[in-house]
Structures are given as structure tokens and as C-alpha cells.
């Protein structure tokens, strides 16, 4: 499944990765997939926390060296 929205927060630090992820989530539609790419270590842990708090679906977390990629799905409406 390809991402419908990409968030590039490489080189960004607290709280930007979290904030930009939230902005993308607010603009997304049900069923959309958001792909966040960054390298801020804490955000790799905190974005999944926000995903949980927001009731979204965490599709995957991939790591390569310092970089990480998090894929989030906005739930379909019932």
C-alpha cells in the first residue's frame, strides 16, 4: 500500500516531528496512509504513542541506521 501523504521531518527535533505528524493526520481522510520519515530518536517512540492516543492504526516502523520510517493509517469510517 503506497502512502497518500508523506511527512519529511529529517533533521527536525522536538516537538516538530510530532507536530507535523499531527498536522498531516488532521488533513487526512479516512483510509489514508501517512508515511513519516525522520531521524529524531525520541520521536520514533513518541509518534506511535500519539498514534495510539489518536485511535489510529500503526502499520509499520522501519529503521535504517539513524533514520526511521513510520506508516500510519487513518481508520475507515464505520
Amino acid at each position: 500500500m503506497s502512502a497518500s501523504k508523506n511527512v519529511d521531518v529529517l533533521g527536525e527535533t522536538c516537538p516538530v516531528p510530532l507536530v507535523e505528524t499531527r498536522k498531516a493526520v488532521r488533513k487526512a481522510s479516512p483510509g489514508d496512509v501517512i508515511e513519516v520519515v525522520g531521524n529524531h530518536p525520541e520521536s520514533k517512540e513518541e509518534i506511535p504513542m500519539a498514534v495510539d492516543e489518536l485511535g489510529l492504526e500503526l502499520l509499520e516502523i522501519k529503521e535504517k541506521g539513524d533514520k526511521w520510517k513510520i506508516r500510519i493509517k487513518i481508520p475507515e469510517e464505520d
Binding site: 533533521g11 527535533t13 522536538c14 516537538p15 510530532l18 507536530v19 499531527r22 498536522k23 500519539a50 489518536l54
Partner: protein, 141 residues
């Protein structure tokens, strides 16, 4: 899911670093899905005057501005988002900025000098207490 959960933050201090803490916490709480209200009062309210958001001194080791200059350099080097941009993020994510009416009186602030475009409303202590009672997180900075 935290929909409907609230954070209320009192920004009593006007120092550069404390305003940073307040705005990072505010945008952070919004990002985690909470509703956030920031109440600017006393020295904090001074920071809502036009072009004043980043003008406060450091709360410690300011050294007549030298400490702050050094801190700003470090923030820039670490690519930390500037205060004005954080305030924009706060607004974009639906955060509320409340200005204390009483402070305007006692500190002789002209309402025209305040950034009306970022202030959601003017209020007094009752509004804060009512919101704080409904809040899961409340901070005094």
C-alpha cells in the same frame, strides 16, 4: 483515545526559555490529540504584544543578554523551531490562547498593542478554573 481530553497551561512567566517550555508543551499536547488552552497572564502576557514573543530574557544565566544570545545560537544549531513558528503550529492545531483581562489593567497594557489575531479570547480566573476542573493536565509556567 484522548478525544475531548484537555490540557490547560498558565503562562505567567515572560522569560524566553519558559515561553519555549510552555509552547512546546502546548503543541505537544495538541499533537497527542488533546484540546489545549494557554492562559497568558502577568509577565507572560507581555509576550503577546506585537513582536515581543521571543524578546524575554533567559530565566537563568541571562548575563545581560549574552546568555540568551548563546542559547539562541544553540537552539538554531540544534534546528529547534522558533517561537513564532511554534505559536503558528499551536494555532493551526486548534489551540486556544486566552489573555488575562486583569493583567491588561494592572500592567497598563494597551489592547491595541496585543496580537489580536492570535488571541482567542480575553478572560478572568473563573474561565481558567472551570477549564482546569475539566482538564487531565494543568501546568503553571
Amino acid at each position: 483515545m484522548t478525544e475531548g481530553e484537555k490540557a490547560t497551561i498558565i503562562v505567567h512567566s515572560g522569560e524566553f526559555d519558559k515561553v519555549y517550555s510552555a509552547l512546546i508543551m502546548g503543541t505537544g499536547a495538541l499533537s497527542m490529540g488533546m484540546d489545549v488552552s494557554m492562559y497568558f497572564t502577568f509577565w507572560g502576557l507581555e509576550r503577546l504584544k506585537k513582536d515581543e514573543l521571543d524578546k524575554g530574557p533567559l530565566s537563568r544565566m541571562n548575563f545581560f543578554g549574552l546568555g540568551k544570545w548563546f542559547m539562541k545560537r544553540k537552539l538554531k544549531k540544534s534546528n529547534v523551531r522558533e517561537l513564532d513558528a511554534l505559536l503558528e503550529d499551536f494555532n493551526e492545531l486548534g489551540g486556544k490562547i486566552l489573555a488575562c483581562d486583569m493583567t491588561i489593567d494592572i500592567m497598563d497594557i494597551n489592547k491595541e498593542d496585543l496580537r489580536d489575531e492570535v488571541i482567542t479570547d480575553y478572560c478572568a480566573v473563573g474561565t481558567y478554573i472551570k477549564e482546569a476542573k475539566e482538564s487531565e493536565v494543568t501546568l503553571f509556567i
